[in-house]
């Protein structure tokens, strides 16, 4: 089993940036008012932050702003940062890695290890595990984990399953090596690649290169039209994957490391869909107050959703208390990761809003 534990690495701060532009689901023309209310009631998304995808506001821009603000509030010296990990499905270029672009743009030292991890909904958990693991086995003392997506670019405006769900965000997590801390970070990971087509953008990669058919809009069922450059989501299979495996993964993590539920302050779930999260919450028997949500205001922001949730819902508590968190990210891949970690009076800047035409 992919279970592991990392010592001597702590989270020093978390920041998040979103586009200032809002989209309101009640404005969606493709559904009748009654259907729309039912959708909003079930999936839980009222409004979302969405960039206009013209190249003037990308994931890297949101992550850059989040990183600059966090470095400033932490009072870190940039030359001390030795690792930059960028976790996203919405990179600036096919190549090079966005992490390299950001190393330069952030003015980090050339003695920086920088790479991308292309994962979505499980991305924060994977990024945290990989970054912490590199720090614990290297001479690197300080690291930036950037997790973000502007995945609303993949949502067909004529596909209610994604266009009412996806929001954009970029987050930064500051990690530091510290020999004095007693508590470890704990992780459990799972993969079911058999479901790789459950969430997929079919064309534009090497398997199905961009061609003259790629942009043709096809109707799949009533209310669902998309091209092969849009993301297809098979909601039912993603739901069953999450509903069956998230509780199992949390259980594996908790029993292997002897973590007791009463010692957990918050269960942070990837903000996939309110109905799904409530079903999972009831199954793992966590009381409502311990499982925060912000999907109503931000939609599903893929890998960014857990750090964004911490900034928007837990900012004061993160700043003023020691907290122990359980978290689980799950989705595209299909990929899943669970973690248990603590935060102790960390730096959490206010949510940053970034305007369009940012990088023109």
């Amino acid at each position: 089993m992919a279970l592991f534990e990392i010592n001597n690495v702590i989270i020093q701060g978390i920041s998040a940036a979103v586009p200032s532009r809002k989209e309101f689901n009640r404005d969606f023309p493709g559904l009748k008012a009654e259907e729309l209310e039912k959708y909003i009631g079930t999936v839980g998304v009222v409004e979302r932050r969405c960039a206009i995808h013209d190249g003037t506001l990308c994931t890297s821009d949101l992550c850059y702003e989040a990183a600059e603000k966090l470095i400033e509030e932490l009072g870190w010296k940039k030359e001390d940062i030795g690792l930059l990990v960028f976790v996203s499905h919405t990179q600036d270029y096919k190549l090079p890695a966005t992490a390299c672009v950001l190393q330069h743009r952030l003015g980090l030292s050339k003695e920086t290890m920088a790479f991308d991890i292309p994962l979505g909904c499980s991305g924060f958990i994977y990024g945290l595990g990989v970054s912490s693991s590199v720090i614990s086995s290297s001479h690197i003392k300080k690291a930036l984990l950037l997790v973000g997506n502007t995945q609303s670019v993949y949502a067909s405006p004529e596909d209610r399953s994604t266009s009412l769900l996806f929001g954009d965000a970029g987050c930064c997590v500051a990690l530091e090596y510290d020999e004095t801390i007693s508590e470890s970070m704990k992780f459990h990971y799972q993969t079911d690649g058999g479901g790789f087509e459950s969430l997929i953008v079919p064309d534009g990669g090497c398997r199905h290169p961009f061609n003259e058919q790629s942009m043709v809009m096809e109707e799949f069922e009533e209310g669902i039209r998309r091209s092969r450059l849009h993301e297809k989501m098979d909601g039912g299979s993603v739901f069953t994957f999450a509903f069956f495996n998230v509780p199992k993964s949390l259980k594996s993590l908790m029993s292997y490391f002897d973590i007791r539920q009463e010692n957990i302050d918050f269960l942070l779930l990837h903000q996939a869909n309110k109905y799904m999260l409530e079903s999972i919450r009831k199954k793992v028997k966590f009381e409502g107050g311990k499982v925060p949500y912000n999907i109503d205001r931000f939609g599903n922001t893929s890998g960014a959703s857990i750090p964004l949730l911490m900034v928007t819902e837990l900012q004061d508590q993160l700043r003023t208390k020691k907290l122990r968190h359980l978290a689980c990210g799950f989705g595209v891949g299909l990929s899943l990761g669970s973690t248990c970690f603590s935060t102790d009076h960390i730096v959490v800047p206010d949510l940053i809003e970034v305007k369009q035409n940012y990088n023109r």
């Binding site: 039912g236 739901f239 069953t240 509903f243 079903s279």
Partner: protein
């Protein structure tokens, strides 16, 4: 079996009659959200986890009931 029908009716929010031989996808109430509610009900009430690929093979209410009880 009566309990199953009751729980199933609750999950799909159907007030009309439910017979074991009915093909549940023909019900007016059937849609993708109701499917999720049935998945949750089968897990909660019968500790039965059916992946979507398996679920697609089930046609009648009897098939659902069998999946929950023949383990």
């Amino acid at each position: 079996m009566e309990k199953f029908i009751e729980k199933f009716a609750e999950a799909i929010e159907r007030e009309g009659e439910i017979r074991m031989e009915d093909e549940f996808r023909n019900y007016d109430e059937w849609n993708s959200l109701v499917y999720l509610a049935v998945v949750v009900m089968m897990d909660e009430e019968y500790d039965t986890q059916i992946e979507q690929s398996e679920f697609k093979k089930l046609r009648t209410v009897q098939d659902l009931y069998n999946a929950c009880t023949n383990k």
